[in-house]
Amino acid sequence: MIEFLPFLKNLLSASGLSGYETAVRPQIEQAWAPLTDQLSISRLGSLHGLCRGNAAEPRPSILLSAHMDAIGLMVTAIVEGYLRVTSIGGIDARVLPGQLVTVHGREDLPGVVASPERRLLPKHVTEGAVPLEYLLIDTGRLPAEVEKLVRIGDLVSFAQEPFETVGETLVGHSLDNRASVAVVTVCLDELKNRPHAWDVWAVASVQEEVSLGGAFTSGYQLRPSLAVAVDVTFANGPGSPSHKTFPMGKGPTLVWGPNVHPALFKAFKELAERLEIPYTLEVAPRHTGTDGFALQVVGEGIPNLVMGIPLRYMHTPVEMVSLKDITRAGRLLAEFIAQLDEHFMEKIMWED
């Protein structure tokens, strides 16, 4: 079995903000190369890995999508050697003061996010949270050097190194959604020794955090018979309301709602129960906020499932995920793919 933990930690040490996934894609390519028959890169930069099935051509195919892009910051101004920034993706500015970051200038500069004293800020921010526009990044370099090395538009990524906890979890930035890239990798690894009839397209997609641009375009280009979006979901934990979150360490979630084909949901649910792979039902009455939202409406539409990996503290540099949930999700995907036969699509129908 693949040692997915070192691979995942490696992914978590990389940047790869939305639109700039080149910083992380080569590491996924390297892991997927021995597990796939063919690798290619889409026009927008998504990684496509193909594992051919053994059914007669034309074979049906299933697309597994895990976005590889990460949230982060971008330089908007340089003032006395300090940087002002905006966000790429959704970041609660209250998480930022004191965070260690890397400024990707002409060279990589470590920095720290500083929240200036209140008296240096406008009167309306004398109470409450300091908005992102007033935070500064301090690289410790002298102003002249900063002017030379950094330009407006340069990226800033979180520098938090990943680490394991005594509770068999992994902590790091960008576990949303590199944890799911690891899930797909575990699945590909299992499939290496399992015959499967269908073609499998593993996709590490781009720009999920901003526009779902990767999922729309890879879905269109590959036009699979079925799609599964693997993404993180909200785990129960401090600060999070229990009615909107799911247990961590109790398996992946299977999403039910308008973003999911009910027959595909039923097939996954029954398989998980038959194999005694734990899962939690995640009810999503609207937008799932995943690649699945795009994949479902690509071309003439694709029957779609969304699988969630429960994660605490989403969109902070200390996201936390249970290692068991990654292996279980990967195994469930592989088992599902292994049992797909040439007639499976006949089951994907409306019951009414």
């Binding site: 004191g98 500069l109 470590p110 004293e117 068999e168 401090p238 503290y313 989403m314 200390v318």
Partner: protein, 362 residues
Amino acid sequence: MMTKNNPEFRLPRIGKAQISLLERLSNACAVSGDEGEVRKIVMEQVKPYADDVKVDALGNVLVTRRGKGVPRLKVMLAAHMDEVGMMITVDEDDGIYRFEVVGGIDAWKLVGKPILIGKDHVPGVIGFKPIHLTDADERKKPVSLDNLRIDTGPVTGKVKVGDRATFATRFIQLGPSLRGKALDDRLGIATLIELVRTAPPQIDLQAAFTVQEENGLRGARVASYAFDPDLAIVLDSTPAYDQPTWDDTENTSYNTRLGAGPAIYVADGATLSDPRLVQHLVQTAEAYDIPYQIRQPGSGGTDAGAIHKQRAGIPSISISVPGRYHHSPAALARLSDWQHTLTLVAAALLQLKPDFLTTQER
């Protein structure tokens, strides 16, 4: 006019060895009341140079290095070993803990940070509600300590109520700057270790590596009683609030500035420095061409707040390496300021004459 007497006496320099000692000190975990990790490093460093070393009832390390000749001034130097941090207060099960802060840490600095808990440095995090589950109004609200928890992942028994926790930040040099946790006051500790090693011969040096400064200057109080010195110099690290203002008007309230040299205290919230000592440090800096700045008089305090009121009174002053973002996961100081602080204090000690207190006007 002061002359640079004793030309063969070499003022100490900061090199690789001193920076790597600061790194060890910064990475060590020593929340007020639990200073053992720093104490161990201090003991190892000072023993070869001390005439006398003891650890007192509160955990202060008291080092004496005697000079030659009579009479000799007894000069106390103090730097605090402790740092701000957290203590686990309630076990909420499954690896989730409530905690309190020890020393002055604003709750907003704790959000989304990795920490180390207890003697075994068990890794944990202080997480935060995902942005997706908040609304715009909530994101404007200040962070409340009541809503924060320490999380070690779902496991029990690895951490117990009463354990201390600190930020997990590792020390790093960033060009001309140094970044790490607890630079307040590991910069002072590293400076004091160097001064013990290089003490000038005409004084009795009484080095107090103090405990519980962040918990109310408690170590310094008993250390200065025990030493009963003639005068005291406190080595600390004071905030530099030298960021630009939002509208680019002049920042006139910066406390200190990085790169402007050691910060000499005239008055803070706890101490009015002895004017003779202010004058002595300023004159020494000017004689030796060492850049310095006067810390803007204002709030805050150092061990001098306890020392100057001890016994029948001890003439005291503080001098700080300016540092940004103290009491947060990652403080930032300038190497040149540290060097100049060390040089200035070493030169000032060298220039102290036995009759200093009787010939200078109070």
